[in-house]
């Protein structure tokens, strides 16, 4: 038997649920043949894949080392934990969950600090006045250093934080923080505010591939099949199917509908009897239905799509190009 493709998936909490739902929508149901406590799994009906259930941080380091081929993890962890991450991994696609921003937050009382230029000045003034540097508590030391360097801020010290970072200024262990936030509510509750241009990274869960993994022909083929399904599901999500048939439906009307509503006609223009299948962005279906009726349609059906397959496989094409570039 050849070595399986290893797909690393978060082993607990919302991230695991979201990841499983994501794969389920693509028709890939993750199963644990030896029970729920098992840390190894498979995908029902797909051969050659082994699922490794790990923490998000473990997934990230396994990807960096090439011990897993693919993994689901946050971009924040990838950028923080893997130096020169673009040389070690490929971010194939955002997964639409696990959204979080990595931001710089300072005490609300700092009414004189609105942006990075202010922060830069305050940091230098603080060093000159107190003979020590301002402290910044964070779990994201690398992201912080790069961002601050890019903004020319030098007068600060990083204090590694493992627990509740947002409490550090109130506890007196740091002057400011870099942390993840989704709504900013926790920051506000701790008397902190995000500075205007202080968003270091807008992160979400990503499907990530490891450049250093052994990519055999079989493993690549398995990946191609996976990504084909994922791409088909993503495409399907972006459209609803609209069907109609009426004599007035002609090429001119189709061009107008394309311009107005962003529809595509995956199976070609209207037949001689005016039969047509359209793919329309879900937000535009009602307006499109009105438009078609104004031009003579009697009946229109709108349906959700499960999968839309196309000849190309953009996710795999991107990955293959990246892997070949390094080979």
């Amino acid at each position: 038997m050849t070595a399986p493709l290893i797909l690393a998936v978060p082993s607990k909490g919302r991230l695991q649920d979201n990841a499983e739902n994501f794969f389920a929508r693509a028709g890939l149901s993750l199963v644990k043949p030896r029970g729920a406590r098992d840390y190894r799994g498979t995908i029902a009906g797909v051969d050659g894949i082994e699922i490794a259930y790990l923490s998000a941080a473990e997934i990230t380091s396994q990807l960096a080392q090439g011990a897993a081929h693919l993994g689901v993890t946050g971009e924040d962890l990838v950028r923080e934990m893997i130096p020169q991450s673009d040389e070690r991994v490929v971010l194939i696609t955002g997964l639409g969950f696990g959204f979080a921003n990595v931001v710089i937050a300072v005490p609300q009382a700092w009414i004189d600090v609105r942006n990075m230029a202010d922060l830069d000045d305050v940091a230098t003034a603080f060093r000159l006045k107190h003979e020590r540097k301002m402290r910044l508590a964070t779990k994201y030391a690398n992201l912080t250093r790069d961002f601050f360097a890019a903004h020319g801020v030098v007068d600060y010290r990083i204090v590694e934080s493992s627990g509740a970072t947002e409490g550090a200024p109130a506890a007196g262990t740091a002057e400011m923080i870099v942390d993840i936030t989704t709504t900013g509510a926790t920051l506000a509750a701790n008397g902190l505010k995000v500075i205007e241009d202080g968003v270091i990274l807008r992160s979400q869960a990503n499907l990530v591939a490891a450049r250093a993994a052994a990519w055999t022909k079989e493993q690549r083929e398995t990946t191609r099949l996976l990504l084909d399904r994922i791409a088909a599901q993503k495409r399907a999500e972006a459209f609803s199917e609209v069907r109609t048939r009426f004599a007035g439906m002609n090429d001119g009307l189709l061009v107008a509908a394309r311009e107005k509503f962003g529809v595509t006609s995956p199976f070609g223009g209207p037949t001689s009897s005016g039969m047509l299948t359209l793919h329309c962005p879900p937000g535009n279906v009602h307006a499109l239905a009105n438009f078609l009726r104004e031009h003579g349609a009697d009946a229109i059906s709108v349906a959700a799509l499960d999968y839309v397959y196309a000849r190309d496989n953009p996710l795999y094409a991107k990955l293959a190009a990246e892997l070949d570039k390094r080979a």
Binding site: P83, P107, Q108, A109, W110, I111, D112, R114, A117, D118, D120, D121, V122, T124, A125, F126, L128, K129, H130, E131, R132, K133, M134, R135, A141, N142, T144, R145, F148, A149, G152, V154, D155, Y156, R157, I158, A168, P169, A170, G172, A174, E175, M176, G191
Partner: protein, 387 residues
């Protein structure tokens, strides 16, 4: 590298240090394992990724020394000699991640503390640095020098908002930032906080003391006490400073032209000093003691037999480290090559390491690898430390 050349390198390095001992510098060998804090605090967070860090069982961060300036300074401060004039020399390994060169490499160098005849001490460092190149048979290395204090004296004399002055001085060591600052200051419209623009405008020109009270009162009414090390008074001060900053919202073209003219002055030290005097006269600003010290130092360099005409001075030459406060220099085989010897004056460092009184300090480090022609490629700066 054969063991023969290795021994040769070692012998020559020992001979070099022996000559430093004869010149009156006591040999010192601080521990390899050092507390990480002073390096991170003084060299900036960027050095962290190049350091070898570890943690002791009590959670204190330790490192393999990335340079010897801070270790030697700490040993000096801990000794009974602290505060008195003392000079030390060293030869030892330092540890730093470098791209395509070994992370463990040899440095020799000198640190001189407590001498108040700064011009003479500066000149002596350069002369002793040249001994290293002679020892290794590098004939007539290129000598590049700068003087950070000239720039700070110049900026201090300009009619600029304090925040802008701080920024220019901070960015002196970062050429792209400095350029960016000048652009931004010339273009800057409302630099401050839009939502407080009205308040700031109302406060501009009012009695500073009263305005300060008003702002601190408002902050107290809002229930805001000291948060994370910055006091309410500090916040109020800078908030009000912004109203001053916003009054003339941009750097006058003439001031920018003057800064650029200053930064373009380069050449041999005597010609450059002449140009600086002319500039100071034209702009009616005083460079006073900073320029005097510069010229006295050039005199001492000549007295030590250094060919002053061959020295390449530039007003914008800094070594990229913020703790330099005056003279800085590098010796290299040729333009664009990595420095063989590098150093400078760092009068503020010992206070930041805990000295009660300011102690003048100057020093340099020589890269044994580079001198013996075994330097790897990669890092351009031989010295992450102060000297």
């Amino acid at each position: 590298m054969s063991s023969d050349t290795e021994t040769g390198t070692e012998t020559r390095a020992q001979a070099l240090v022996a000559s430093y001992v004869r010149a009156g510098y006591a040999r010192i060998d601080p521990p390899v394992l050092q507390p990480a804090e002073p390096f991170l605090d003084l060299s900036g967070e960027d050095i962290r990724r190049r350091m070898f860090l570890t943690t002791d069982p009590d959670g204190r961060e330790l490192c393999l020394r990335p340079d010897l300036t801070i270790p030697v300074s700490r040993d000096y401060l801990a000794s009974p000699q602290a505060g008195k004039p003392s000079g030390f020399c060293y030869l030892g390994v330092v540890f730093r991640h470098r791209h395509s060169a070994p992370a463990e490499f040899l440095q020799a160098g000198i640190e001189s503390f407590g001498r108040h005849d700064k011009a003479a001490a500066d000149a002596e460092m350069l002369a002793l640095g040249l001994e290293a190149t002679t020892q290794y048979g590098v004939g007539a290395p290129e000598i590049r020098i700068g003087d950070v204090r000239l720039f700070s004296a110049f900026v201090a004399a300009l009619d600029l908002a304090p925040a802008w002055k701080r920024r220019l001085i901070k960015d002196f060591n970062r050429k792209t930032s400095l350029k960016h600052d000048l652009e931004q200051m010339t273009l800057a419209t409302a630099n401050g906080s839009k939502e407080y623009q009205g308040v700031l405008a109302a406060l501009a020109g009012s009695d500073p003391k009263a305005a300060h009270h008003l702002v601190t009162d408002l902050l107290s009414i809002a229930g805001i006490a000291t948060v994370g090390g910055r006091s309410v008074a500090e916040i109020a001060d800078r908030f009000l400073e912004q109203s001053a900053l916003n009054a003339p919202t941009r750097l006058p073209r003439e001031t920018r032209a003057l800064i650029e003219r200053f930064l373009s002055i380069a050449g041999d030290p005597d010609d450059a000093a002449g140009e600086l005097r002319t500039l100071a006269g034209d702009a009616k600003i005083a460079l006073g003691p900073a320029l005097d010290l510069f010229e006295t130092r050039t005199g001492f360099l000549a007295a030590r037999g250094v060919d002053v005409r061959a020295i390449k001075f530039a007003t914008d030459f800094g070594r990229g480290f913020d703790y330099y406060t005056g003279f800085v220099f590098e010796l290299q085989r040729g333009r664009g090559q990595r420095p063989l010897v590098a150093g400078g004056r760092y009068d503020g460092l010992l206070t930041r390491l805990g000295a009660k009184e300011p102690i003048p300090a100057v020093g340099f480090a020589a890269s044994i690898d580079e001198l013996s022609g075994n330097g790897g490629s990669g890092e351009t700066k031989i010295n992450g430390g102060a000297s």
